[in-house]
Amino acid sequence: MQNTVSHQKGMAEHEPGKKRKLIGDRGNYFLDRIQGEAGVNISACFQCERCTNACPVSHFMDIKPHQAIRYIQLGWREDLLKSSTIWVCLSCEMCTTYCPNEVDVAETINHLRNMAAHSSITPKEKSLAVFHQTFLEVLRKSGKVNEFRLMNAYYLKPDIFQEKLKNGTLKEELLLGLTLLRKGRLKIFTPRSRAIKDIQKAYHQARGEIGQ
């Protein structure tokens, strides 16, 4: 009886109201997969939290960088792919630089972001995911990224447009866009690269589509 109480108490301290997650028979499958694919020695982490302390955006993350590494060891894949962490990460490489055990934390989080992008899980930070997606769309169309085309394409995404309309920032952003145009910082026309075909082919191959 006493055991149960203390057990519940410990649980409450960790995540109030949530059931304790069991590792079950997941084994090392997820850990091995990430270590192999990202080329990172996740097992070397001893939770010193130096990555989280170095991270400039850890307070905007639901799973902190050192926790993300631990989650991988435990095989908690869905929690990681559902997290805001993987999208909020700026790839500023502070965590990687200061890890005493040379765990490439930024590369690991980047790999999780790649996995999330190829999964059916809706990104927790949708606007950030949509921005990356839009960037690549513009890149595929012209081989280079023109900021004017990028911003247009981004704001015209239905989700983004509605969000900006709802929180009332649309007008402010439009005015900023006009000022940028007036100052000559946004160019409506910039040369395209002849690489478009090659880039599109490479892109399809990278997605696992077999070309002709």
């Binding site: 790839s91 081989g143 690489a195």
Partner: protein
């Protein structure tokens, strides 16, 4: 001297002024900057976020073009530099198929380190016609130019000095500070404004606390972030210069205020007050 030049997408748009300044500086220094034939985007953060393969393949196309020219690359944009170096390392590991003929053997320099070599600093000092005396600046490097050290090759990643050396050679008074390579938020401000602002504002405040009248940068995105955030703060404004703009100004007897018209935070009053324009 001849070197290939990978400008990157920003230098055709948001940072066109940086491009012009670089052009003028390298011409004055008699270094032949050869733009890479039909270069394409390096993929930036979006490519490595969504497709690791593309983040290696996209820069590889430009590496291949430079290899064909037989010239080392100099890149003015911190992220382009980082992605090119990253791509080189992965190419050598042979984990992705690259559609182009590329070995990854050429040198990729970031422009500030290229110009901070002692021979180049000597050349800069010879070209300086009007030293920027009395202009108090801090130099801001951002992330991608210095981190991670195993990609960028910077050994002094905690206290990088390339921009400091260049600004000092141009005659500016360079102030030491602790936020040289703290992240400015990069493109996160476009989708999550409050995160971007919290990071950029801190850098700006720390620069002002250090006593800087201006910030010197080399990254187009750092420049836009630090510059545009000041648009609604008319009280305390700190102009954000590209290092090439300062060099260009010091190489010539009479600078042109038109060079700075793309800035949100107008540096002309400050430069006039210092007798530099």
């Amino acid at each position: 001297m001849k070197i290939s030049f990978y400008p990157g997408c920003s230098l055709e748009g948001m940072a066109k002024d940086y491009f012009h300044a670089i052009d003028a500086v390298f011409e004055a220094m008699d270094i032949d900057l050869v733009e890479i034939e039909d270069w394409s985007c390096c993929g930036a953060t979006a490519a490595h976020s969504l497709s690791e393969a593309m983040s290696v393949i996209l820069p590889a196309r430009n590496l291949a073009a430079a290899e064909k020219m037989g010239l080392d690359i100099v890149a003015p944009c911190a992220n382009c530099f980082n992605r090119l170096r990253y791509s080189q390392q992965i190419i050598k590991k042979k984990v992705f198929d690259i559609p182009w003929q590329v070995t990854g053997d050429i040198q990729v320099h970031d422009m500030t380190r290229f110009l901070a070599e002692s021979s180049m600093i000597k050349l800069i000092k010879e070209r300086v016609l009007k030293p920027l005396n009395g202009l108090k600046v801090v130099c801001y490097y951002g992330c991608q130019m210095v981190r991670p050290p195993k990609i960028t090759g910077y050994t002094d990643y905690e206290n990088p000095l390339t921009l400091d050396r260049i600004a000092a050679a141009a005659g500016a008074e360079v102030i030491d500070w602790s936020y040289k390579s703290t992240c400015c938020g990069a493109s996160i401000g476009i989708a999550r404004k409050e995160i971007g602002e919290s990071l950029t504002m801190r850098i700006l405040q720390k620069a002002q606390q250090a006593g800087a009248e201006a910030i010197v940068v080399s990254c187009p995105l750092c420049q836009s972030n630090l510059d545009i955030i000041q648009k609604d703060r008319p009280d305390r404004r700190t102009p954000i210069f590209y290092f090439a703009e300062l060099l260009r100004l010091s190489f010539i007897a009479h600078g042109d205020p038109k060079w700075f018209k793309m800035h949100f935070t107008d540096p002309v009053p400050l430069l006039k007050a210092k007798g530099l324009l």
